[in-house]
């Protein structure tokens, strides 16, 4: 009997393959976007975990100097000869025009068990690892990616984190030109009878990094992606809900017949359930495949984003994880079940002998709308409270969610009110408006989906646009010098600068040192007193004559990130040298770390070992290209050692655009899904509405006119939705810029408006709605008059 029930019920899909396709597409899209985002997040997280577990950083404490500079070899040897089990690591980055690589040099002889380094091939000759030219262990992706030239031989190991190489400490020492260990790993168990390590050394003992910095730093990004994934999944489920509702309405008669023939209700429900599960399985598998493809396509962008925003290294390559696929399939079933619940309940409650009277599956109900509106207002209130008093990233995202859900809930109410105030001319237009109001409940889910997609689009593009224009403006100021030169070493630098000094306006050395400030990595720069800086570096906060004070050497400027994170303002002391008063705060977009600027003299006193070999050159812009080629030809500088402003700017903007590539792609995908949701809803309604349209046709309105009205109505609703989405989207952008961005990145951006983008989006929304409405309208225009006549016979 079950088989027969399934057979007769599923014959419906044979007659309406389009509907089946719609259901499958809805499920597949929902699964695809959700699982795609999950795959990206999982991949990134496992990359962080691998990086965190490198050399046992997640299990081993380490000793390092408070200022972040290398530990002297003598200090290391003194600890060893006192009996302490510590192991040196020399780490650093090598970089040239071809690529960059983080090098981790370990001493396998003293490394604690947790830091023994990666697995090696059994037949590898160990003396190649220990003796020159040495051996670099890198992951496969790193080996295939851009790498600096003149590296020692490379061997593949899957345990090495992205963009890094593990090698013997002797090889690292040679490659990085550094003899002193960068830090020391501490074995968990120290020998018998020794005083505590902390008493034996001035070095700072840092606990193992259980929750590593990078994953905390990138949380906001992944939260962002997850939010997008949820949004897409929800929008996809709107489609599924609509498709299932439609199928239910159309199969009322079959179900009634089956029941009348004696099929138990349980069997009918089971048949419907099995059918849905089967469709969900197929659609889910397609969705997983699509999700994987989307994720794989977006992965390089995500890698670029993470590197650009946080300096986090992940490989732009996606691995396939069967657990991920299974969990995605489970989510698809769960979503399908949630979307089908209403239709199932209705089937269960359907009286056995009731006439197969179709009615709108979502009946208009003024009361429901009022409840929604009250809920929406409460959510807006919550959003406002969170915006005013909330702390942290989670609060910012909750604020976003409250705002969006509230906007979606209040949409039907806003629409009804708006339609009430539209002017009407004549009975027909009055009917059209009244009928539209009547339709809103049925279309509301699809319109909400459209609203969410449009607001998200407006919000995110406003944020990215504001970000981009601020960033470019800032680049123009920051990259004020015409040429940037990198010499091979300080002595070549001195020679070069002496040679060109007569022909240029000014030579500004660029020197920096890594230093831990407030127990986090930071950089300190030294600058000469020059109008370039005074003019080009706008300060967000300052005390009197900050640049004059800086020039004395007894003051420092800090970036916005450091100021916000440590709650510093002008007048506070910065722990550099004996403590320098802060005289200004500058904006420093795109930098995850703290930064400080001191005068060049102060810098040279504090970091005598850092010699300048990079320089910014001020020169008449017209002479810049000639000077660049002179440096290359006359002094033999490699091409990448001389860059002009335009190149640097172009590169920076490229990095920036890469950064938001993923956001843009997800935006478009979500909008597409919303379009499909609208189409499904309209299709569902089209049949249900025939009983309402038939009388109009009977009193003389042509089918073409009715179809035109349907089309115009869809466009009108889309327009109304867009108009409502605009303030919602801008509110969203404000939350993103003023709350999320500050929490996530530590800096705040001025919000700018981009009406051009809105126009484009408006057009897109209309196209989506038009395309969605076109099919149903065409069908109405071509409906056989006999069918309309039948409606009077059968339905009334």
């Amino acid at each position: 009997m079950l088989y027969t029930a399934i057979q007769s019920l599923s014959s419906h899909w044979k007659r309406r393959p389009g509907q089946l396709a719609m259901l499958a597409i809805g499920l597949a899209l929902a699964t695809a976007l959700w699982s795609g985002v999950q795959a990206i997040n999982a991949e990134a997280r496992s990359a962080y975990d691998r990086a965190a577990a490198t050399l046992g950083q997640d299990q081993l404490a380490r000793l390092e100097r408070a200022d972040g500079r290398p530990v002297s070899l003598d200090t290391y040897l003194a600890l060893r000869s006192a009996g302490y089990l510590v192991s040196p690591v020399i780490s650093g980055e090598i970089r040239d025009a071809n690529g960059r690589l983080r090098v981790l040099g370990i001493d396998p002889l003293t490394a604690p068990a947790a830091a023994q380094g990666p697995a090696l091939d059994g037949d590898l000759d160990l003396s190649t690892f220990f003796t020159a030219p040495g051996l670099l262990l890198v992951s496969e992706a790193t080996a295939n990616g851009p790498l600096p030239t003149d590296l020692p031989p490379i061997t593949i190991s899957s345990d090495v984190p992205p963009a890094a190489a593990i090698t013997d400490i002797s090889t690292a020492a040679r490659l990085l030109g550094q003899t002193d260990p960068s830090y020391l790993l501490v074995a968990p168990q120290q020998p018998f009878g020794l005083p505590p390590l902390a008493d034996a050394t001035d070095l700072q003992l840092r606990a193992p990094e259980t929750a590593n910095d990078i994953s905390r730093l990138t949380d906001s990004f992944h939260l962002n992606l997850t939010a997008f994934g949820f949004l897409s999944f929800g929008v996809g489920l709107f489609i599924v809900h609509a498709a299932i509702g439609l199928a239910f309405e159309q199969r009322r008669a079959s179900i009634r017949t089956l029941r009348a023939l004696g099929t138990p209700l349980r069997t009918v429900l089971l048949a419907l359930g099995i059918e849905l599960a089967a469709i969900a399985l197929v659609a889910g598998l397609i969705g997983i495949l699509m999700g994987y493809l989307i994720a794989a396509a977006l992965m390089p962008g995500v890698a670029g984003t993470l590197r650009g925003l946080y300096g986090a290294e992940i490989e732009g390559i996606l691995r396939f994880d069967p657990y991920w696929a299974l969990s995605a399939l489970f989510i698809t079933w769960l979503g399908a079940a949630a979307a089908a619940v209403q239709a199932m309940i209705r089937t269960a409650r359907m009286p056995l002998l009731a006439p197969a009277l179709p009615r709108a599956w979502a009946q208009a109900s003024g009361r429901a709308m009022r409840v929604q509106t009250v809920a929406a207002l409460a959510l807006f209130g919550l959003a406002a409270m969170l915006a005013l008093f909330g702390q942290g990233l989670i609060a910012a995202f909750l604020c976003l969610a409250a705002l969006l859900i509230g906007a979606a809930l209040i949409l039907p109410g806003v629409m009804s009110v708006a339609l009430r105030f539209l002017p009407t001319r004549g009975a027909f237009s009055e009917w059209v408006l009244a009928d539209t109001r009547q339709q809103i409940p049925g279309l509301s889910l699809a319109l909400m989906a459209l609203l969410l997609a449009l607001s998200a689009n407006i919000g995110v593009s406003t944020m990215v646009g504001s970000f981009r224009s601020t960033f470019i403006g800032w680049l123009d100021q920051r990259l004020a010098s015409e040429l940037y030169i990198t010499a091979a070493d300080p002595s070549e630098a001195a020679f070069l600068m002496d040679a060109i000094r007569p022909d240029v306006d000014a030579i500004l050395p660029i020197v920096s040192a890594d230093q831990r400030l407030f127990d986090r990595p930071a950089q300190v720069f030294g600058v000469v007193d020059h109008p370039t800086y005074r003019q080009a570096w706008p300060l967000l906060a300052q005390s009197e004559n900050p640049w004059d004070q800086l020039a004395t050497g007894n003051a420092a400027l800090i970036n916005e990130q450091l100021a916000r994170r440590e709650n510093l303002s002008p007048g506070d002391l910065l722990p550099i040298a004996e403590g320098l008063p802060i005289v200004g705060v500058y904006s420093d977009y795109g930098n995850p770390n703290g930064q400080a600027i001191v005068s060049l003299d102060r810098f040279a006193d504090t970091y005598p070992e850092v010699q300048p070999f990079r320089f910014a050159i001020r020169i008449n812009p017209e002479q810049a290209p000639a000077m660049a080629s002179r440096l290359r030809e006359e002094f033999g500088l490699p091409a990448d050692a001389v860059t002009n402003q335009d190149q640097v700017k172009a590169f920076s903007i490229e990095v920036f655009d890469q950064t938001f590539l993923v956001t843009g792609a997800l935006n478009i995908l979500t909008l597409g899904v919303a379009g499909v949701a609208l189409l499904t809803s309209l299709l569902t309604l089209a049949n249900l509405r025939l009983p309402q349209l038939a009388p109009l046709w009977a009193i003389g309105t042509s089918r073409a006119t009715l179809a035109k009205v349907e089309l115009i109505r869809a466009l009108g609703l889309a327009m109304l939705t867009f108009i409502f989405a605009l303030p919602v989207g801008l509110a969203l952008a404000w939350v993103l810029l003023a709350l999320v961005n500050v929490e996530a990145f530590g800096w705040r951006l001025p919000m700018q408006l981009f009406p051009g983008d809105w126009t484009r989006l408006f057009a897109l929304a209309l196209i989506a709605a038009g395309l969605a409405a076109l099919g149903p309208a065409l069908r109405l225009a071509r409906i056989p008059p006999a069918r309309l006549t039948q409606i009077f016979a059968q339905e009334r």
């Binding site: 040897l77 068990a113 023994q116 380094g117 697995a119 059994g122 003796t131 020492a173 003899t179 020998p191």
Partner: protein, 350 residues
Amino acid sequence: MRLLALILLLTLSQAHAQGFAGLGTQADGFAIPQPDPVFTFPEDHGPHPEYRIEWWYLTATLQGMDGTDYGIQWTLFRSALEPETSYDWTAPQLFMGHAGLTTPTAHFSAERLARGGIGQAGVTSDPFHAQIDDWHMYSTATDGDAYDALHLTARGSNFAYDLNLTANGPLIFHGDGGYSVKSAQGQASYYYSQPFYAVTGTLNLPDGDVPVTGTAWLDREWSSQPLSDDQMGWDWFSLQFEDGARMMAFALRSTEGGTFTSATWINADGTTESYGDGHIALTPLATTQVAGRTIPTQWQLTFPVRGIDIQTTPINAQSWMDTSFPYWEGPITFTGSHTGRGYLEMTGYE
């Protein structure tokens, strides 16, 4: 395989001459021991980087005030990747230290690894000082041979010791004047010992410090290809007889089941007689389950030429050196035709 394990394989397979399988490597670029050596001291007390492997190997049988037996081991191995040395991270000279401490009820072991060249480990001959981390063996002799008086320290995760050693006799040379043949194919090493130490000092145990006295034996050996391809392990004895005589005996076990034996008889005055393959016979009398392996811990040693027929018993049958390449090493006593104390090392038991 983990990096460290591989390194150890490399290090041990060459440095730990006491018989692991498949170690008959070619000595490319390294010097090879030649017959009729002429030793010069103190230089030869120090390292020989032109040879692939070398060790300073000291064992002591000790007693507490209450007569409890103890034993300690202190070993520094040198293993060269290339026959040269330098004074930075790139030095191809690797060092490995092993320390053991045996009581009747417990056995402690510790291991240290380091590269030479940066100052973390190394050996100097004048003044004599062998060191890895905080483990030291250095000369306290004011005149005479540098090895006549030594200070010795080591520390593990749950034990430490600090001992002073004074030699009551001369250095002795094994084999043919210090040229010790290790197989029928002719593999050989330079090998001499100081077997006449009297020891005083302190053992630091988890339950407290124990003052001890006793005797000790220092082995010095270096080579570049000590073992034949088919030699898979060895059993090595150092014995002190009650009349003051000493004896060194070893058997290298072949994969085919045969052995290659060698022995040095040391009279109380330091005069020696060497005995090549076939003069001694070693027979296991009892085995013990140690670290999941079956190890022969009681032996019969017969040496007909010298009228010796003794049975050895370990102070602690579980004297397992739980190092990267584990082996059995601990103090023994012996009875039979003669009585006395000694040290036993057994390697290559799977």
